[in-house]
Amino acid sequence: MSFKNILENWSAFRKDAEAGGHHKYDHRWGMAINLDVCTGCNACSTACYAENNLPVVGKERFEKGQAMHWMRIERFWDDADKQYPERGASYLPMMCQQCGAATCEPVCPVAATYHTPDGLNAQVYNRCIGSRYCSNNCPFRVRYFNFYSYYETWAEPLNQQLNPDISVRDKGVMEKCTFCVQRIRTANDKAKMENRSIADGEVQTACAQACPTGAIVFGDTMDPNSAVSKLWAKHEVKRGDYLSKKPKQHPEKRGYRIFEELNVDPSVMYLERVREEI
């Protein structure tokens, strides 16, 4: 947010892209996660560790809430009052929701967290001063702070596995899910060299690629023909201002975005879990 924007057209700036605000997006990466087939197996989370150079913090630091799992599977029991959890567990894959109106962005005192033209909440590691305001302000609790220089903990030769496409973060820096930005950029470069646009399915995040049940679908929500756009449309989930939005035509459609009422415009649509009454 520059001062110039505020002076020139504050009202346009405050509107989101759908309402004619002046965000110029090339892509808007988004996801659809089908909670009915998510089995909570952890494949996505482990794939994320492998792809994104996530450090292992160990038991003591995990206990302090310092685990660096960009993608985590939360597990809830909904039948707490019953003798047995007869409807199983509720699993929630949770990672940065890449909000269109992200609450983490405006609070950064040094603009280390900002919005990219493809709709990602990016984190500039070498600009970050570690104030942790962004993390405090994130309703999803998906920003992770490097309390230590974890690169020192990669015992040789485990460090040889580190993905050279992205940096290893140092102490004092905030980090989070990037929607595998390195894969997006690589595909972008390739498409540009071949003078075409990125095809649907050309970029997959590590989690989506691993998911054994295909619960995670990733793609460009600006491309109406992408698989993810079709899912969003099918389940009547639209981006944009929650407050001014019309209710769903078919309220029973399964799509929803978590904490949508906070008006943060998440880029991840979840599909409701289904249970049969036996």
Binding site: T39, V56, R87, P164, Q209, V274
Partner: protein, 735 residues
């Protein structure tokens, strides 16, 4: 390909051609990635190796060896380093997908605690030696060995590795190859063999409209989880099948059930017979069973079964109704049933349901017979390790070879594996890690990691097509003094039969010759022998010709004995398996230690799961330490209280409690295998590992349980929203 010589450079060249075409969508190009928008050009100031383009990742097809499922993988290699594994879409097993253990395959490779040199016993210590010295020692010790005094103990092996082990033992005239897997489906296979005439029937979860699973954790730890997970996704789409999971401790699969039914541990078979009786009584049975079986079933009326299993009578009838209405159905039995003292009869009772419901031929299909039987997977259970230990204990073994297994850790405590091994004249252990078994060896041969080695694999669970999956090195070995498993066995074979194997310089040459000379009967793809090899390496899998077998149904099922209680040991111990640490072999992967258990969300620890009712009886709350005591010994761990377990059971998960095995595993948690009682399933001889009775005592110690998540409930927020299936059917479901 006799006399085919290959050096590293040539070998990488072959790899390059093999892998160049394997480039996937989304493959890397020179990139200028930073999180900022600005661009920067990175220029490498060195002359790269052939087929290494700085900044460009190349993908090679290989096979995951983290468990016996045999998933095909693509490994990403950049600047000569293997970085990431993804599923190989060509593989019929996993169709491009991976599980968490597959993802952690790179950590087994780069693990800092790998063995880097052969070790030779010198008194109480193992001293590093060269391969020449180690092999010479083996040659000495095996020089005049008699055929019945040598044995091989391994985990699951298949492909040409299994052929070589077989050939090596044949060189002595020995048939003593024992196999051992803690997590197995041996009883299921035995029952399928006896009742269907096919030990490995193909399961079609995707075709089923309803599934009743008796503790079969097919999404987590049963047979081929990634394969079944893809089928499960199909099962849940369209008409959306119903999953009912009946077990005494919630498994990963149970977490996804529409209805999770708590069953008294050990009574699963009785519940199955009760449902069978309901099906017959109500006239819902589609398949026929012998009159003798019908007579036997007569006593399993709803009241009796409800009493024995703790499942309400109307629930039993409802389950029977769902299964018969939502056809085709599928009924499965997993580890808790296969590990009971009435295992065989219980699993047979489950299979009887499939016969009665008419599932045979619909959701249970005959397997494709693999043409090369010698390459078929040799899976194991717990019987093999017990038999091996008996031989050793009786001083009937002079030489033992152990590979792909860590029996000192994983064998039940009553087997006393460490002491038994002490009575074997000479032990050779082939492994990647300094595990508990390696520490007992006389010679330890350090092996390549799966990402450095050659091999062929045939999946232990045949996923509807008979295929060979290829394993090829993704990178140069990290350590000079390690060797491939095939290379090691080949070296041993050359000691016995120098002439026969002289033509093969290394395992690569052997493998290439063996594969390209396979008879055309094995695969229609084998035509041009020169081209086939590279094509196979590129694709990673070879579909083989195989005849689809035929079922021969034999439904002569017997009654299931009720399990007995014990006043001194009031609870049944469930040594539950985890997708992640598996049977303990992945406890040395930091990623898998830090990945929370799917149910309890606990990390880096062992724990004791118990129902709130049990916890109240024992007088403990979550985080308190307890001692779990069986007649064989005791273990201590923290309590995790949750209601997804039967009050008469307690669960201590497998995987931890290593005394060796490197910095990430050693000294962490407890191993429930060590307190198992010597109870066996009479018909299969497998250890009834779920039949140990224990008592629980509170210890004067408590600490917070380290786990993910601050709240166990959603606290009224719409995080995971759940809707009734009726709504789903209105909006998306097919009629």
């Amino acid at each position: 390909m006799s006399g085919f010589k290959v050096n590293r450079r040539d070998f990488l060249r072959v790899l390059g051609w093999g892998g160049a075409g394997t480039a996937l969508a989304g493959c890397d190009m020179p990139s200028t990635v930073t999180l900022e928008e600005g661009k920067e050009d990175v220029v490498a100031y060195f002359m790269p190796e052939e087929y290494v383009i700085p900044g460009v990742g190349v993908w090679y097809a290989s096979t995951c060896t983290q468990c016996a499922a045999g998933c095909g993988v693509h490994g990403r290699v950049r600047e000569g380093r293997a970085l990431k594994l993804e599923g190989n879409p060509e593989s019929a097993v996993n169709r491009g997908k991976t599980c968490m253990m597959g993802q952690a395959g790179v950590q087994a490779h780069y693990n800092p605690d790998r063995l880097t040199q052969p070790l030779l016993r010198d008194g109480n210590a193992l001293k590093p030696v060269s391969w020449e010295v180690a092999l010479k020692k083996i040659a000495e010790k095996t020089a005049d060995i008699k055929s019945d005094r040598v044995a091989w103990l391994s985990g699951t092996v298949s492909g040409h590795q299994a052929v070589l082990i077989n050939d090596y033992l044949n060189a002595y005239g020995s048939k003593q190859h024992f196999t051992h897997e803690t997590i197995n489906a041996n009883v299921w296979q035995a029952v399928a063999r006896d009742m269907l005439g096919d030990a490995q029937p193909v399961l079609r979860i995707d075709k089923a409209q309803s599934i009743l699973s008796f503790g079969a954790d097919f999404l987590g730890t049963w047979q081929s989880p990634v394969h079944f997970a893809a089928q499960y996704a199909k099962f849940r789409s369209g008409k959306r099948g119903i999953l009912i999971q009946a077990e005494s401790k919630m498994s990963l699969t149970g977490g996804s059930a529409d209805a999770w039914v708590a069953v008294r541990p050990g009574s699963e078979g009785i519940l199955a017979l009760g449902i069978a009786q309901t099906l017959i009584k109500r006239g819902w049975a589609k398949g026929d069973v012998p009159a003798k079986v019908k007579d036997m079933l007569a006593k399993y009326d709803v009241g009796m079964v409800s009493n024995a299993t703790g499942v309400a009578g109307d629930r039993i009838q409802r389950i029977a109704a769902v299964l018969s209405q939502r056809a085709p159905s599928l009924v499965l039995a997993g580890a808790p049933v296969e590990g009971a003292e009435n295992a065989y009869d219980s699993v047979a009772a489950v299979m009887l349901l499939n016969v009665l419901l008419g599932n045979i031929g619909h959701t249970i299909e005959p397997s494709v017979q693999f043409a090369e039987t010698r390459m078929q997977a040799r899976t194991g259970g717990t019987r093999g390790v017990v038999e091996f230990a008996k031989l050793a204990e009786a001083k009937k073994l002079d030489v033992a070879f152990i590979s792909h297994a860590n029996p000192v850790y994983s064998a039940p405590g009553f087997v006393k594996m460490k002491e038994a091994l002490g009575k074997v004249g000479f032990k050779v252990v082939m492994t990647q890690f300094p595990d508990e078994t390696a520490m007992q060896a006389d010679v330890v041969l350090p092996l390549y990691s799966a990402l450095e080695d050659w091999g062929t694999h045939v999946a232990a669970y045949n996923a509807g097509s008979a295929s060979i999956s290829f394993q090829q090195p993704l990178m140069e070995p990290l350590y000079k003094e390690t060797r491939g498993f095939g290379d090691a066995v080949l070296a041993l074979l050359k000691q016995r039969k120098p002439k026969e194997y002289a033509a093969f310089n290394d395992y690569y040459a052997y493998l290439k010759a063996s594969v390209t000379n396979m008879p055309a009967a094995v695969s229609k793809d084998i035509k041009n022998k020169d081209q086939i090899w590279n094509a196979l390496l590129q694709k990673g899998v070879l579909e083989t010709k195989g005849n689809v077998g035929k079922f021969k149904i034999n439904a002569a099922v017997e009654a299931v004995a009720e399990v007995q209680g014990d006043a001194q040991f009031p609870y049944r111990l469930l040594p539950s398996a985890r997708l992640g640490l598996w049977d303990g072999r992945h406890a040395n992967s930091p990623w898998l230690q830090e990945a929370p258990d799917q149910i309890s969300k606990i990390v880096w620890a062992s724990w004791v799961e118990m129902h709130p009712i049990t916890a109240a009886k024992v007088g403990v709350k979550g985080g308190d330490y307890v001692r779990v005591t069986s007649a064989q010994g005791s273990v201590e761990a923290q309590v995790y209280v949750f209601s997804g377990i039967h009050p008469e059971a307690i669960a201590v998960p497998l995987g931890q409690g290593h005394e060796e095995y490197g910095r990430y595993a050693k000294g962490l948690g407890v191993n429930p295998n060590k307190i198992l009682s010597p109870v066996f399933d009479k018909k299969t001889g497998e250890v009834a590992s779920y039949a140990t009775r224990v008592s629980v005592t509170k210890l004067d110690k408590s600490a917070r349980l380290t786990h993910l998540g601050a709240s166990d409930t959603q606290q009224g927020r719409k995080l995971v929203s759940t809707i009734p299936a009726a709504i789903y059917r209105r909006t998306e479901g097919e009629a």
